[in-house]
Symmetry: C2
Subunit: 364 residues, 2 copies
C-alpha cells in the first residue's frame, strides 16, 4: 500500500474527525475507495472505535432510482443508524463521475426530499468528506492517474496545525473588519463584513470544517458593490461557465456575462431572489492545490484565489438571530489573485499580488 494512503487515513481519522475510543463510526465507501477504506479501518481499529461500512455506489443508486416510481417512503432504519453514530466519514472516489447522468432530475429531487431527515442526522455527527484519487476523478481533472494522485496527496497531506494558525490570522482580520475591497484584473468590488464571523476551515471538526482537504477562510458578505470577473472555469450541473462577469449594485447582481455558458449563468441567477446575492466570500489558502481540477472542493481552496458564492450563506458566519442570504443554491465562483491584485480590509492591504502580508515577498 502506498504510504500516502495510510497517511491520508491517519489525517482523516486523527486530525479531521478526532475519533476516540468507543466512538461509533459509519464509513461510506465509494466504488473506487476500497484501498483508503482498508487504511481507515486500521486507523479506527487502533483507536478502539466501532465501525460500520456502507457502500456508496453510484451504479447501485442509479439502478435503484431508475427502477423506483419516485414515491419514496421514510428511511427510518438508515436514520436510526446515523442517530446513534458519533462520526460519519465519507470516502468518495467513484469509477465514473457521470454514473447517475440518466437518472431523471425529479426522481433525484424526490429522493433527496424523502431523505432529508437522514441527511440531518448525518450532519449532526462529526462528519468529514474526503476523496480517494481514482482514474475517474483524474479523467475529470484532465490529468494522468499518477499526476492526479500526487495532486490529491499534496492537497490532503498538509501541516494542518500550522495552516490553521496561519488561517487564524486572516479569520481575526475578517472578524474585526468592516469592509473588504477586492481588486484584480476585471475585478473591483467592495463587500461589507461588519458583524460577521469568519470560519477558519482547517479540515477538522474541531474547526467546524468538514472537508479533507480544506484550507480556506470564509465569511458571509453583504451590500456588495462593483464588478468581478471569475477566471477559473466551473461546471454547474454539467454545464461549463467560463469568465463569468458580474456587476453588483446594492448587494444584487444587475448585469452579467460569460465567455462560455452565459445561459447556464442566467438560469442560475434566475433560481430565486437569493441567487442574485452573495452568500460567501472565501479565500483559498491551501498551497498544496496549485491548479484547478474542475472540482470545486479542491478549486476553491487553491492558494492565491478568492471565491464568491451566489446563494445561501452559512449560519456559522451570521450573528445570532440574523439571517443572511437564503436560496436553494450555493454556487462558488473562483478568481485568481495574480499580478496587480489586492485584498484590502478597512483600507489595509492584506494580500498583494497573491502574497499575504505575513509572507516573504509581500510588498505592502
Amino acid at each position: 500500500m502506498d504510504d500516502r494512503i495510510r497517511a491520508h487515513a491517519e489525517t482523516l481519522v486523527g486530525w479531521s474527525a478526532r475519533v476516540e475510543d468507543g466512538d461509533e463510526v459509519v464509513m461510506r465507501v465509494a466504488e473506487g475507495a476500497h484501498d483508503l477504506a482498508v487504511a481507515v479501518a486500521a486507523a479506527l481499529g487502533e483507536r478502539g472505535a466501532t465501525l460500520v461500512a456502507t457502500y456508496g455506489s453510484d451504479e447501485v443508486s442509479r439502478a435503484y432510482l431508475r427502477a423506483h416510481d419516485g414515491d419514496f417512503g421514510p428511511a427510518d432504519a438508515e436514520r436510526a443508524l446515523y442517530d446513534r453514530a458519533d462520526v460519519y466519514l465519507s470516502l468518495g472516489g467513484g469509477r465514473n463521475t457521470t454514473a447517475t447522468a440518466d437518472v431523471p432530475g425529479d426522481t433525484q429531487s424526490a429522493y433527496a426530499r424523502a431523505r432529508e431527515e437522514v441527511r440531518e442526522a448525518r450532519l449532526a455527527t462529526d462528519w468529514v468528506s474526503t476523496v480517494h484519487p481514482t482514474r475517474s476523478l483524474a479523467q475529470a481533472a484532465g490529468m494522468s492517474y499518477e499526476a492526479y494522485r500526487d495532486f490529491v496527496y499534496d492537497a490532503v497531506l498538509r501541516d494542518w496545525e500550522s495552516l490553521a494558525t496561519e488561517m487564524g490570522r486572516l479569520k481575526d482580520i475578517f472578524d474585526d473588519g468592516r469592509q473588504v475591497h477586492l481588486v484584480a484584473e476585471g475585478t473591483d468590488l467592495t463587500l461589507s463584513i461588519a458583524g460577521r464571523t469568519a470560519v477558519n476551515s482547517a479540515a477538522s471538526v474541531a474547526y467546524d470544517s468538514h472537508n479533507l482537504p480544506s484550507g480556506e477562510v470564509f465569511t458571509a458578505p453583504a451590500g456588495t458593490e462593483g464588478e468581478v470577473t471569475f477566471d477559473v472555469p466551473i461546471t454547474v450541473q454539467g454545464r461549463r461557465i467560463r469568465d463569468a462577469h458580474l456587476v453588483f449594485e446594492n448587494g444584487e447582481v444587475v448585469e452579467f456575462a460569460a465567455s462560455e455558458g452565459e445561459d447556464a449563468l442566467a438560469d442560475l441567477l434566475d433560481t430565486d431572489a437569493g441567487a442574485k446575492r452573495l452568500g460567501e466570500l472565501g479565500v483559498g489558502m491551501n498551497r498544496g492545490i496549485t491548479r484547478p481540477t474542475d472540482n470545486v472542493l479542491f478549486d476553491e481552496k487553491m492558494a492565491g484565489t478568492v471565491h464568491l458564492a451566489l446563494g445561501r450563506a452559512y449560519d456559522a458566519c451570521l450573528p445570532d438571530g440574523e439571517t443572511g442570504t437564503e436560496s436553494a443554491i450555493h454556487t462558488d465562483f473562483i478568481t485568481r489573485m495574480g499580478e496587480g491584485s489586492r485584498l484590502v480590509v478597512d483600507g489595509e492591504v492584506i494580500q498583494r499580488d497573491g502574497v499575504f502580508r505575513w509572507e516573504d515577498g509581500f510588498e505592502g
Copy 2:
C-alpha cells in the same frame, strides 16, 4: 449484464425475501458482488422498498480487527439499523476466501461475542444469504470462472415453487415417520425422528429457509445406531476431512476413522458432549447442484446426497419445550446415495439408488 444476474436478483428479492412496498432493506455487498448488488437494487426499487447498502469487505474487516486491541465495545448504531430493518440480504462473493486468515482467532471470537446483539437483530429480520459467483469462489471450487458461474446459476435459478411442492412430500413423510434407515456403501444406520418436525428448505423466508440456493429437507434425529461413511470431502476450519467413518451406539459416536484429517475429526468430536451426537438429518434435493465445490452451503443441497450434522439441532425441528442436541458446533458431513443405496422410513423405501419413489426410474 448477464441476464442470469438479473434473474438471480429477482429470485432473491421476490421468491426468497418476499420484499414488499415500503420494506426497509439492508443489503450487504461483498467485495466481488457489485454486479449482483446493482441488479438487486433495481429489483428493490421496482418494489418500492427502501435500501441501505453496507460494504462487506473482508479486507476492511481484517485491517480493522488486526489493529484493534480486542476489547470491543457494543455496536449500538449498527444494532439500531437492524432493529428497524425488515429485510437483510447478504450478497456474498469475495475476492479471496482466505482474506482474514491472519486475524488471530481470539480477536475473531471476541468480535463475534461483542456483536451478538447485532447478529440477533439481523436474524430477527427476513434475512437471506446468497453468493455472487466470483473468481475466488471458482478457485476454491477448483473450477474455471465460466464453469463456476454456470454451476451457481444452475443451483440458484430453479423452479422453486415446484421444488417446494416436491420437497413437501418428503417433509410429510418425515413428519409422520418414526424411524429412518439409511443404507449405502459403508453405511447402515437407523435414526429415530418420532415427534420431530422437518423443514422444507425451499430458499424462501416463507418456508423458514434463509439461503439461496437451498433445496433440502431436514429434521432432528435421535437415538442413532449403526455406521455411516461420508464420501464427499469437507473442510473444517481449513482442515480437509475425507471418507469419515462413524459408528454410533445409543445416539453417540463410539468409533471413528477417516482416510484424511482423522485428527481434525477427533478434535471436532472432542469439542463438547453434543459434538458426538447428531443434530441434523438432511436430504439434498437441488438437482442443479451436480458436484461438490468444497462449499457446504452448496454441497449439502446436492440431489442424491444425504447429510448428517454433528452438534446443535435446529429449534424448528423440535417439539415445544424439548431440547435436541446442544453444542458449540454444527458440522455437516455428506454422503452420496448411489447404486445400491436406500432411504427407508418405517419400513417403506422412499429413495432407492438415489431415485425417489415419485420419480421416473424408481424401482421399489
